[in-house]
Symmetry: C2
Subunit: 333 residues, 2 copies
């Protein structure tokens, strides 16, 4: 649907986490990324060539992907000059933000005049059902986190890759804009109407072969007051057989919530499992994924070993160590 390759737009990202959409595409589909376009003050960097619109066009880029999100998911007025220029230069636009490209009259007018497409991957295009809670065939694994943006999507994508390399039947099931931009389909769960959240996840992870695993992309955290409801719908709609705990050990508080401390991994394990057992009494925690991006190599190894000893669960940073040991835990399930 969306023409590749991309020019990744990082805008005026206030920090690297704000550009996690771009980072995900770059890490999992580097072959689709020609370069990056950054505005003044941008604090994110994909380590791709910085390009003007003209340079990217000459290098073959077809679509400018908005790879940055500000609080609330709005299309910033500060970006408009670049977006209009991209359409005029011959790019399509793709976005996973809450505010839609198609609802910006200036972008719609220019896109129409230039014969360009506006892709809003966040908009649900399916009438999801109300969840019925019925047991489905096949197996499902879900990554749950102590906080938002701790590496749940990375864990799921790395696990999917490792399982395929081991010859296991596996499908990555995207639930957010980045995952959808990477895989081409999924449920934009953040944008689903409240009553249909769990049903959308049942729809996304239907009956399958008994030895097939859906790797469901996690969202939010049960402990993050802004988005916890989305997380619980994912747990109850997904009916996971297996959970993987995700954590970033250097956070001083919950993302965006200065007054809120992170829960412990024990808290995450116990509460997630209790919640998951409402929908699937046989659910088990099978591994731990640590995001060690702010740690050195030795520190990261020591930390993972300590968690593995404490919890008796395979513990890795999938970005640093790969996810083979998590895949093995599922193979042994």
């Amino acid at each position: 649907m969306i023409e590749t390759p991309y020019l990744l737009f990082l805008g005026d990202a206030p920090d690297p986490l704000a550009a996690k959409v771009a980072q995900g595409i770059k890490d999992w589909r580097p072959e689709n990324c020609v370069g990056q376009l950054r505005m003044e003050g941008c604090m994110a960097d994909m380590k791709l060539p910085d390009m003007t619109l003209e340079e990217a066009k000459a290098a073959g880029a077809k679509t400018l992907v908005i790879g940055v999100a500000n609080r609330g998911g709005k299309i910033s007025q500060a970006w408009k000059k670049v977006l209009v220029g991209a359409l005029e230069e011959g790019f399509d636009l793709a976005s996973g933000l809450h505010n839609l490209l198609r609802n910006e009259p200036d972008l719609v007018a220019v896109a129409k005049a230039c014969g360009r497409a506006l892709h809003d991957v966040r908009v649900p295009e399916v009438e999801y059902p109300i969840a019925n809670g019925e047991k489905r065939r096949g197996k499902r694994v879900l990554a749950v986190g102590t906080d938002c943006s701790v590496g749940k999507m990375y864990t799921a994508l790395a696990l999917d890759k490792a399982m395929r390399e081991m010859g296991m039947k596996s499908t990555f099931r995207a639930t957010g804009q980045t995952g959808i931009l990477i895989t081409g389909d999924g449920v934009p769960l953040d944008a689903v109407i409240a009553d249909f959240m769990a049903g959308s996840i049942e729809w996304l992870t239907p009956d399958n072969d008994a030895d097939h695993w859906d790797i469901i992309e996690g969202q939010g955290s049960l402990f993050h007051v802004s988005f916890s409801g989305v997380t619980l719908a994912l747990i109850h709609g997904g009916q996971p057989d297996a959970l993987i705990l995700c954590h970033e050990p250097t956070r001083s508080h919950m993302r965006g919530l200065p007054g809120y401390a992170l829960p412990s991994l024990e808290d995450l394990r116990d509460l997630s499992l209790q919640m998951a057992k409402v929908a699937n009494p046989d659910c088990r925690v099978v591994g731990v994924s640590i995001n060690t991006q702010h740690m050195g190599e030795a520190e990261a190894a020591t930390y993972c070993e300590a968690i593995e000893a404490q919890f008796g669960l395979s513990t890795v940073d999938p970005f640093r160590h790969g996810a083979a040991r998590l895949a093995e835990a599922l193979a042994a399930f």
Copy 2:
């Protein structure tokens, strides 16, 4: 906004619970209800005079309120003849269903031709913020349930009434279509976009006097896999200081989920309190509300006494006994 009095449309309700919207309006604003209109096979009865459209019009009714919901909240094709006839007879229509009156071309055409209004009270008309988790002044109480449709709205409305009678500062905060139809405003939480659920409840229950209580209408249940995410957003957005546990003791399984047993009141107490303490560490459980509609008088009294002894919390059926003892528990908070 919506012209009163109403004719309550019960349609082809398969059971009394399906008509809980009509029941709520009738119980809390009986002065607004001229009569009821039932189709063949309707299994609900508000004990109001059965009227044709013509009879209700002659009796002064201004608006036909759809007081019935089927699974998924759709506007049934079987209802269309009545709805079109009502518009032609001179009624406005009001609905809290997911599917909107304004999206039904036949109704829109007839309403326009007849100069009548279509009220969709379920549609959010505010751009809600993302929840920020900041502590707000004033106090808040939330009713949480072992299941859906166990009496959370009734408990909140009865508590609001009892608190006002005791001279306390109290506001009922509607979060569902019935509550909104009763009070004229609120947040249609079931229809809010996932990411903004908790923020909509922060918006609904803003800073207030230190001795003012918001009585927040509960939705769903943490243990109901179809709607649990909505419930958790309500707990984390509402930051309740006090919880009231709601239960209907005669259910054989979770509503709409034949394979799911109800949790115990202990489970509800422990999980709700754990979840609420994420947003407000000082939250306490202050009372229990039992829906004894399927019990006799003596059985109901015995059951409530047993729960009160077991939990050490004021326990009443607000419909049968009033909510004064729950209001006293909050006054002593």
